[in-house]
């Protein structure tokens, strides 16, 4: 990319780091929640479903505020984290990753759930009559067959995570090199006199990364579908 300064590259790199970490944090819980929503029969399933989807409809600033309340240094989770482990999430890169993870969580859950619902329950029943116990069945049959959904969800969440703004700036603030991801850097540039060129360059990078992510997700889904004999 021509003409990006070191600081601008830093924002790009930080965005990639935050998005990657957010996906790593949310992937396993997302698979578990998708499983519960698709297969679970328990009271409160609808409530869990609504709760998971909340970040899609609530203003991101509100999600950031909620995280501040919970994970702030005096919050019910933040205080013990600080006291016992010396971990502070507010105004840190980890915090930016957490805020991004919460925001993109519903995207992963939805994709994983679609992948899981595409698995023929008959195949799991067949595995059962062939002597495979529950864990064995999940690892050898269900998980590989739902993997297109998992991968698509991870890539989509990664692409979306590159652009998370409201929750990150509210919870982690806008600190260059620490929490100033690509969208935050663009926002700062637009607030700076003469920053139009910087904003344009970064916006272009942002657009390119998002496009690449979506195309990659689609390509992976197709390729896996063919591998699994479903396309």
């Amino acid at each position: 990319m021509p003409g990006l300064t070191a600081e601008e590259w830093g924002a790009v790199a930080l965005s990639l780091e935050v998005a990657t970490r957010s996906v790593l944090v949310s992937l396993v819980p997302a698979v578990a929640v998708a499983w519960l929503l698709a297969r679970g029969r328990f009271p409160g399933r609808m409530l869990l479903d609504a709760l998971v989807h909340l970040p899609l409809v609530v203003p991101p600033v509100v999600v950031g505020w909620g995280l501040l309340m919970l994970f702030g240094v005096r919050g019910p989770i933040g205080a013990p984290l600080d006291a016992w482990f010396g971990v502070r999430l507010v105004f840190t890169t980890e915090g930016a990753a957490l805020a991004t993870a919460v925001m993109s969580f519903p995207l992963i859950v939805r994709a994983v759930r679609l992948g899981l619902e595409a698995v023929d329950p008959g195949l799991e029943a067949a595995a059962r009559t062939l002597g495979a116990g529950p864990v064995d069945r999940f690892v050898t049959v269900t998980l590989p067959l739902m993997s297109p959904g998992i991968l698509a969800g991870a890539v989509t969440a990664f692409a979306a995570g590159l652009g998370e703004f409201g929750a990150v700036i509210t919870f982690a603030s806008n600190i260059p090199g620490e929490t100033q991801t690509l969208p935050l850097a663009i926002y700062s540039a637009t607030q700076t006199p003469g920053g139009e060129a910087v904003a344009a360059r970064l916006a272009f990078v942002s657009f390119g990364l998002a496009m690449a992510g979506l195309l990659l997700a689609e390509a992976i889904a197709r390729r896996m579908g063919r591998l699994l004999g479903r396309a």
Binding site: D120, L123, L130, G131, L145, L227, L228
Partner: protein, 215 residues
């Protein structure tokens, strides 16, 4: 090894779906269960395999070689089940499908591979191991599905309309293939079907389940 169903009674929402006194399937024999749709044929097989939907209530015992397996989960019963769909795992090769149910007691990659290849050769499918199941014909898939079930060394076999989706010419051949193996292995088999020709080919006793409303 024989399969005995002792006084099975299956109800759904308080309504009796099916009740029998006793059904014994001797080793190496195929007992056919026939009856109209809704008479509980498939439900009976699901109960025997241990995979009855929790919406149903069931009483009675399943005895396998004299041992009561009613309390065991499906994967510990050692009862093989063949469905109308072949249900081959699409993400595994033919050989991996066949290896899926091989008993853990059979150790060593070479030994397991040899067992799989022998089974394929015997079913006139030599060299099919590396193939993707999606590339097989209907009859080949049916045979692979049966081999997979048998390689798991089940102590009894349940057949839930396993020939229903095959065309007439193929049906006879796959049927002979299945029944011949049941006899050779000396395991009891319970067949559910609509087709009187299946019952005739099975050659064993035929049980007619009545209309559900009569129960």
């Amino acid at each position: 090894m024989s399969l005995v169903l002792e006084a099975p009674e299956i109800t759904l929402g308080g309504r009796r779906l099916l009740a029998l006194d006793r059904l014994a399937v001797p080793a190496g024999e195929v007992v056919t269960v026939m009856g109209p749709s809704g008479s509980g044929k498939s439900t009976l097989l699901a109960w025997v395999s241990g995979a009855l939907d929790p919406a149903f209530r069931a009483r009675g015992r399943v005895l396998l070689g004299g041992q009561d397996v009613s309390g065991l989960p499906p994967h510990r019963r050692g009862i093989g089940l063949m469905f109308q769909d072949d249900l081959l795992f699409p993400h595994l090769s033919v050989a991996e499908n066949l290896g899926f149910g091989l008993p853990a007691a059979l150790r060593g990659r070479a030994a397991r591979q040899a067992r799989i290849e022998a089974a394929l050769a015997e079913a006139e499918l030599p060299g099919f191991g590396p193939r993707d199941p999606a590339t097989l014909s209907g009859g080949q898939r049916a045979r692979v599905a049966l081999l997979r079930t048998l390689l798991a060394e089940p102590r009894a076999l349940l057949l839930d309309e396993p020939f229903g989706k095959l065309d007439v010419a193929l049906r006879g051949r796959v049927r002979d293939f299945v029944f011949e193996r049941v006899r050779r292995r000396g395991i009891p088999a319970l067949l559910v079907t609509h087709d009187p020709a299946d019952a005739a080919a099975a050659g064993g006793p035929v049980l007619e389940l009545g209309d559900a409303a009569a129960g």
